[in-house]
Amino acid sequence: MTEILFFVEVVVAGLLAGTMYSLVALGFVLIYKASSTFNFAQGAMVFFAVLAFVGFMELGLPFFLAFIVTILLMGVVGFCTERLVLKPLMNQSEDTLLMATIGLGFVLEGLAQAAWGVEVRRLDLGIGDFPIQWIIDTFGLFVSALDLTAGLVAAVLILGLSILFKYTKMGLGLRAVADDPGAASSIGIPLNNIMLLVWTAAGVVALVAGMMWGARAGVQFALVDLALKALPVLIIGGFSSIPGAIVGGLIIGATEKVLEVYIGPYFGGAIEGWAPYVLAIFFLLYRPEGLFGEKIIRRV
């Protein structure tokens, strides 16, 4: 019985940690849906956003104000990216855009470190990374409060974004742009505003993801490497699907935790570092478009 409980505990911890990957992947999906760009810089945006947030807090801004200012800053970053990087590269091949966003990632990482320094910051959200007592009492499970908060925040964000995309005029416009940018702009959908909205939304998602990661592991450069794990998440879930990002994150989170706990000890541990990527390879071999992705049809 305790073994089963332990297994459940491992899976739950994995699932909740997985929502953090989902959050990073979500920003990726937003931009991919709107502009068919693989935004490799999403990880760097996470780092940039949360470092900026902590930086503003250190300047003495209250929590809420710092949050707003950071979102505005991410809007500016999105605006500049759109104007200076993506516009000039319109109609270029996907690989070219991908390489450009790798460059963008380096710019953001460098700027963040130049502006706010390289030392590890602590981010205290007032939520501890320790088990919640009443869950231990009722179910006998150890579930971290931070993990649970991350899960809830992710759920709220996804709900909000889904409503935004499904039921608002802006969202309708966005879907039109995603479908066919040329046709969308010819019927008068403001392409620039939509892009700005998407990049800002991706910035908000990045900030939230960064705050969750930062509260757990400290705000530091290693966040960028953690954010790389959003890539296998996307492969498993599909690049253009919001539910895919969530499910992919959960799968990666749970699998890597279970593997680490049950198989890791035989190999000296730390297989979390590569297990998600190998899992992604298996998905690529059997279902390259991901669980929820659209089938990729290439025309010659």
Binding site: F38, F40, L84, V85, P88, L89, Q92, E94, D95, T96, L98, M99, A100, I102, G103, L104, G105, F106, V107, L108, E109, G110, L111, Q113, A114, G117, V118, D225, L228, L231, P232, L234, I235, F267, G268, G269, A270, I271, G273, W274, Y277, V278, A280, I281, L284, L285, P288, R298, V300
Partner: protein, 342 residues
């Protein structure tokens, strides 16, 4: 016209350029440069990384497969070489070097397999697996490190025909030899049918396939040869530059560095690998000396390295927008303009 040459035909200019380069590399540099600093901190790492960039160039610039795991293959090569010299008695250095390249190539084929199904960022994620897996494997299985618990292993001396090559100049000569041979080979492959197949697959794989080019063969060949170059480069890098073997030296940052060398240097050119490696290696040195001499250390070293990152990123974006073929093409353009004006 000779018809069945083993090597591609070269124009007079090519041969003159080659002899000139060899003259500089083997005579002028050894005679004029005496300080060990130039060899061990600039020339040796430059040539090693240029070799790895050629590997990256083959898979990415020629075969068009977006791979991001060069440092993993370098690690495989470096540790293979260490173990071969350690465990096989009296193995000649060059044999060990070639074998370690082949071992890296085997990894290249294994992790190149996903390229048969996917491309672009999908492939990039698959190759990231190689990067993390290889470094983890070396780190976690004590055998590879000869059960050394300190984590840092001193590399053996390079011994060729009973003579050990340990001074910076001697090691430089060994590297020049290896790099020259492999670069010539790469140029020939790129110009020959192998390279043409790669480029056909890069430009449009479906068209290439319908012309009878086997995608399986061509892609895996590119991955294998690329990993071979990276493996040899990794072994040289560890034995002559780092002089120690530690898995962390081959982390993802190095892979990104090599990727940048190839993108900035110019995709699809061998010379681009050398130009890109020189730039990525020298720019931080330049930036540091500017920081020290002009601002007298008033700027923090971490800020300088951040600025370096920003500059690399901005340059990549600028090159992608204005000159996707990189510095090699820029250089060609300058020469062309110069010739026109004369």
């Amino acid at each position: 016209m000779k018809s069945n040459n083993i090597f591609m035909e070269y124009t007079k200019n090519d041969i003159i350029n080659f002899l000139l380069l060899m003259f500089v590399a083997l005579l002028i540099i050894p005679i004029t440069i005496e300080s060990g600093y130039w060899y061990s901190s600039i020339l040796i790492p430059w040539l090693c990384l240029a070799l790895a960039s050629i590997g990256q160039q083959i898979v990415m610039g020629y075969a068009g497969q977006l791979a991001l795991g060069a440092a993993g293959f370098m690690a495989a090569g470096a540790f293979a070489c260490y173990n071969l010299i350690l465990r096989v008695p009296d193995i000649p250095f060059f044999v060990a070097l070639v074998l370690s390249g082949l071992i890296a190539a085997a990894f290249g084929i294994l992790f190149g397999l996903p390229s048969l199904r996917v491309r672009g960022i999908y492939l990039m994620v698959a190759t990231l697996a190689s990067q993390f897996f290889i470094v983890w494997m070396i780190d976690k299985f004590g055998w590879f490190k000869n059960y050394d618990s300190s984590g840092i292993i001193t590399a053996q001396d390079i011994v060729i025909m009973g003579k050990s090559f340990t001074s910076p100049l001697e090691m430089y000569l060994v590297i020049v030899f290896v790099v020259t041979v492999l670069t010539l080979l790469a140029v020939n492959m790129a110009r020959g049918s192998t390279g043409r197949n790669w480029m056909a697959v890069r430009d449009m794989d479906i068209a290439a396939e319908s012309m009878g080019i086997s995608l399986l063969r061509t892609k895996l060949q590119a991955f294998a040869i690329s990993a071979f170059y990276c493996g040899v480069a990794g072994a040289l890098f560890a034995f002559t530059y780092l002089k120690s073997l530690e898995p962390v030296a081959f982390d993802i940052k190095l892979s990104f560095k090599i990727l940048f060398m190839v993108i900035l240097g110019g995709l699809g050119t061998i010379s681009g690998a050398f130009i890109g490696a020189a730039f990525i290696l020298l720019f931080p040195v330049l930036l540091n000396s500017v920081g020290n001499n002009i601002f007298h250390g008033a700027i923090d070293a971490t800020i300088i390295s951040s600025i370096e990152q920003v500059v690399f990123g901005v340059l990549i974006i600028i090159f992608m927008i204005y000159e996707p073929l990189g510095m090699a093409k820029l250089w060609d353009n300058i020469i062309l303009k110069f010739k026109k004006n004369n």
